[in-house]
Symmetry: C2
């Protein structure tokens, strides 16, 4: 699809940030909450560390491989829709042309006003397909290297995030003491992560920090209460 290099670059950058945010949000939160929950039921940290590492392995694979397959299926969707549009602009040219007219009509433009654009696109089939992909279907051409990069970024961010709450349980053998250290370190990490995330996503850093700390705290609190109630 025709696009300025600047826009392309911006887009790729924001996708990597988005993947880091996806992986690290859950990586910081879920192992933290799981370990906190188990601290409400178990005194020694050995099993908590085992559960935490098992969770980090499971979570990073599930999220990374899930991200890989989602990106692959986006690619396939784009390719198949594009093939369909390529056939349609040839075989159903009148219908496709009237779809553009209708699209512009939904923005209050008369068929007379949009006619030169419609005619111009009809004379350039390749650009016409590009236009339909973007403007009728709202699909961006996916980067072919995207699936693998996305998978590795999400999984790596999940693992990096997961070792922060788990660290104290590895270092300290008493679950209660490890929980306190883990809660302090992880809530600080969630705050820092939230404010950096806010910086990249355009949200106010303090508010974003508050939100990530809230999610982590609520998830850990709920896990702790449930584990204590049933143990």
């Amino acid at each position: 699809m025709p696009q300025t290099p600047h826009v392309e670059k911006h887009f790729t950058g924001s996708e990597i940030v988005r993947d880091i945010v996806i992986g690290m949000s859950d990586g910081l939160t879920v192992p933290f909450a799981l370990a906190a929950g188990l601290s409400g039921a178990i005194d020694t940290t050995r099993i908590i560390v085992t559960a935490g590492l098992a969770e980090i392995a499971a979570g990073s694979i599930a999220m990374g491989l899930g991200g890989y397959l989602a990106a692959r299926s986006d690619e396939e969707h784009y390719v198949s829709e594009r093939k369909r549009e390529e056939t349609e602009v040839i075989e159903k040219a009148e219908l496709e042309a009237s779809e553009i007219t209708e699209l512009f009509q939904s923005y209050g433009l008369t068929p007379e006003e949009s006619k030169p654009v419609v005619d111009g696109l009809r004379n350039r089939p390749q650009a016409w397909v590009d236009f339909m992909m973007r403007f009728e279907l709202g699909l961006e051409k996916p980067d072919p290297r995207r699936a693998l990069t996305s998978a590795m970024t999400i999984a790596g961010a999940y693992i990096a995030g997961g070792f922060i709450p788990l660290g104290p349980y590895i270092a300290i053998s008493h679950a209660g003491a490890a929980l306190k250290a883990s809660a302090i370190i992880t809530l600080i990490a969630l705050g820092v992560f939230g404010s950096i995330k806010g910086h990249y996503t355009g949200a106010r850093p303090l508010r974003s920090a508050f939100q990530t700390v809230l999610i982590g705290g609520l998830a850990a609190g709920a896990a702790f209460l449930i584990a204590r109630a049933i143990s």
Copy 2:
């Protein structure tokens, strides 16, 4: 944004399906893998059930609340970008108009061909803003009820998914036997879920089933091996 009721309906439906897929993929996979992993290290199921329930609580809150805040931030992003466009079409009308011309030029259309559309939009400021939001920025107007629905759907699907692998550990006290029953039930559930998901997302059902079973199996296998290695 002007949109036909049909498109609107289709879009909302696919968002709910997407939320169910997001929640249930992880809900089936991560508690399954965590419980399988702990079965490699612990003989009795009591702690595995505690860890599993803590994980379901943590995972559903993290994903649900995460989804809620993501949807809210999409809304805010849309509103703030729209405000900016509304100001710009008044204060920087020439610049905004030339942006449309350039947009069409990237599809091979000459300024002469796109002029009637550009002029038509300039005469209708509200439609002009709608047009810029959709075509320049690629932003859809978010549904205001979306954030809460999205959060509840993701969390509910995660919980529903999570109890499938955990069920056998609740019913059976020996971890090895529970693991076998859980693996059989969950891999079947992943296969059924994958093929239904394929039906909704347009992928081939068998291939989609194979993929979800693969993710679940790999995540559980990795968690099992890690837990067994360190225990």
